[in-house]
Structures are given as structure tokens and as C-alpha cells.
Amino acid sequence: MTSDLSTPAVPEGGPGSHTVLDGNAAAGEFAGILVSDPTTVTVRCGSCGATQAFAELRAYLGGPGTVLGCRGCNAMVARVARTPRGTWLDLSGSSSWLFLPTPAPRPGR
């Protein structure tokens, strides 16, 4: 994967700033907040009720925050914004997050 896209920290409206990627590309931002890897979490959309892996969510990386949308109905399900005051995490668009019981094996074996 090579995602040559600006992150929310970068104010810009340049080429590619509105390209839709997926949750894999947003995982770094969420991994800074969540304790475990976000990509394998099953997220239920608060609007249409569809469930999908975090990795499969639509990701919008070019705006003032990292925004994740439902791949079914495109409603916003989660958002992270880093501001001088602190980091905002908005999960109001999702109804549940299912974390797998077995943590991923640690690398470096």
C-alpha cells in the first residue's frame, strides 16, 4: 500500500485530498487512542445496522479529521480530530464495536 494522501494535520486541498480509502489507512490515527489494533474490530453502523470490519470502512483522510463511513449506507460512523486542545474521538455514528477475544500475536517472534 502506498497512500500518498495528506493527513488531517495537514491543511490542504490538494490533489487526492478527497479520495476515499479504507480503515487500514486510518488505523494509525485510531491506534494512537485504542489499546489494541483497530483494523480487526467489527463495527456496527448506527444508521443502517450493517456490521463490517474497521478495515473495510470507508476512510476520508483529507479533511480536518479522519472520518470513517459505513460501506453500506455511507453514514459517518467514527471520527478522530487532533486539535491544540486535544484529540477528539466521536463514535456517535456507530452502535457497537466488537473487539476479538484473542489479541493478535505480537510481532518479533
Binding site: 500500500m1 502506498t2 497512500s3 500518498d4 494522501l5 495528506s6 493527513t7 494535520a9 495537514v10 490538494g14 490533489p15 487526492g16 479520495t19 476515499v20 480509502l21 479504507d22 480503515g23 487500514n24 489507512a25 488505523a27 494509525g28 491506534a31 494512537g32 487512542i33 489499546v35 489494533d37 483494523t39 480487526t40 470490519a53 474497521f54 478495515a55 473495510e56 483522510l61 487532533r82 484529540t87 493478535a104 500475536p105 505480537r106 510481532p107 518479533g108 517472534r109
Partner: protein
């Protein structure tokens, strides 16, 4: 495009409140370069404290200009896991902001910041119980081949016997990445860890190539005759968004259930579907 970057002052390195393993920024120093194609190269970085990674994971890369402007990108990890070492393969995007620096400007000894390893979804490790005996189908569009080659190398190293096919879609012969590696991985079908490799040229095929240049088709993702199953137990698709959507459509038409398909999309790129 910015010409010089320096890692941020370590003091403001961690905007994150509680860095756990893998999600704080580390300083990385360029220690090796290898050309992969006319438009891409692999950068090897020394990253003290890097814990190693799983095949298919990626890393966030951050460059900071002297005036404080910073830009961040994600790249798949390009080598089998090695402690304190990170390699990424970067494809030049003509109007990109970061890739021209990484592909043409950055020199040995230069530094940047990395964060990772990231992601457990787009990962294939030999012996994954959810995959069982396979088979496994890998579908790459352009530089989407990078994490898939990392998976192939890991299973080669492990001598894994899961039947595996890589379908690799590129625009023309000049955009082929990892040409020699793919040849080595596929030359002897009986060698442990060997994989089938199927090249798909979308614009221009080499002289004498049996398949005419065309976009990825249903036929291209058909399993080899010797597979024990008509469908793969797991499919990994990596490429530009449009390519991933197209490949996913083909897989659904071939009656693949969604839970066998894992995808990873990357942003606008010079590579065609």
C-alpha cells in the same frame, strides 16, 4: 513538493497521550536503497526499537519540513520481519508531495519518523488457522503488490505449502515491481513456499505475451486447474480504490462470500488498474 525534511524534535514527538507498542513515532535513518522499477525503489531504514511486524502490515511515515510543515503517508512493510529494521517500497506519484522525495531525493543517512507496525486485518501469516490448507488468492493492482510479496516471502521462509496464486495487474512491463523476486518465488512449482504468479498487463503487454493487454477479468482470477477447491479459502486484494472495487465485484460474481475477501486500498497513484 518539499525538498528537505527533518524529524521533529523528540520533545513534541508524541501528540498521543499513551503510546502503546507500535503507535508512537520513532526516528528512522535511511541505510539502504534498491531500485524496483523505473518509478519505484525500496528504502531500508534503521529504526531502533522497532519490534518486527507481520506480513501485510503497514507503517505510517511522517516528514517534517524545517518550517514545521508536516506530511504523513502510509506504506506497506516490504520485507520479512527483522528487528530494528523497516523497509518500504515507494512508487513515484508524479504530482505527489511525499513520494518524489522518497523516490528521488532522500539519501543514505537522512532521517524521518515512522509509526507502527499497524493493522492486523490485512495480514497473512503461514499457519493461519482460519485459512487452514488454503488455497489463497492474492490480487494486486500496481504497487498493491508490495504487502502481497511480503506475504509470499514470509511463507517461502516458512516453507509453507498452501496452494497460492498471485494475480498481479500492471499497466506495462516498465511498471513491474519485484520482477526477479517473483521469478524466484514461482520458478520451481515443487519447491516449498513456491507460488503461481499470473501477470495481467492492462495497457501494453511484452512481445509474445500470451494474454492481450486488458483490464482484470473473471478469467484472470480463475483458480489454477491443480487447486483442490474451486475457490480460495481467503483472498487478499490490494491496489488503488477503483481496482479493489473492480476485483471485489469479480470475486462476488465468482460466488466468493464477503468473509473470504480482505482488501486494502491506497490513494491516487500513477499506476493504472
Amino acid at each position: 513538493m518539499i525538498d528537505t525534511y527533518t524529524p521533529r524534535d523528540p520533545a513534541d514527538r508524541c501528540g498521543e497521550a499513551t503510546p502503546s507498542a507500535g503507535n508512537h513515532w520513532r526516528m528512522a535513518t535511511l541505510i539502504g536503497l534498491r531500485s524496483q522499477s523505473r518509478y519505484s525503489r525500496t528504502l531500508a531504514l534503521r529504526v531502533p526499537g522497532w519490534p518486527g511486524h507481520r506480513p501485510g502490515q503497514h507503517v505510517d511515515v511522517r516528514l517534517t519540513a524545517p518550517d514545521g510543515y508536516s506530511a504523513q503517508r502510509s506504506y506497506s512493510l516490504a520485507e520479512a520481519p527483522t528487528p530494528n529494521r523497516v523497509a518500504i517500497t515507494v512508487d513515484l506519484l508524479p504530482h505527489g508531495e511525499v513520494s518524489p522525495y522518497l523516490v528521488t531525493t532522500m539519501e543514505i543517512g537522512d532521517q524521518l519518523d515512522v509509526r507502527g507496525p499497524i493493522g492486523g486485518w490485512f495480514v497473512w501469516e503461514p499457519g493461519d488457522s482460519a485459512i487452514g490448507g488454503g488455497p489463497v488468492l492474492l490480487i494486486a493492482g500496481g504497487s498493491g503488490v508490495v504487502p502481497l510479496v511480503t506475504m509470499l516471502r514470509a511463507r517461502k521462509r516458512a516453507g509453507d505449502l498452501t496452494p497460492t496464486l498471485l494475480v498481479y495487474s500492471i499497466r506495462d512491463p516498465r511498471t513491474l515491481m519485484y520482477g526477479r523476486d517473483l521469478e524466484e518465488l514461482s520458478v520451481d512449482p515443487n519447491a516449498p513456499g513456491s507460488a503461481d504468479v499470473r501477470l495481467v498487463y492492462t495497457r501494453t503487454a511484452p512481445n509474445g505475451f500470451p494474454r492481450p493487454a486488458a483490464h482484470l477479468s473473471a478469467e484472470d482470477i480463475q483458480p489454477p486447474a491443480e487447486w483442490p477447491e474451486p475457490r480460495a479459502a481467503r483472498v487478499y486484494v490490494c491496489g488503488p480504490s477503483g481496482f479493489v472495487d473492480h476485483a471485489t465485484r469479480l470475486l462476488r460474481e465468482a460466488a466468493y462470500p464477503d468473509d473470504r475477501i480482505r482488501t486494502e486500498r491506497f490513494g491516487p497513484s500513477g499506476v493504472d488498474q
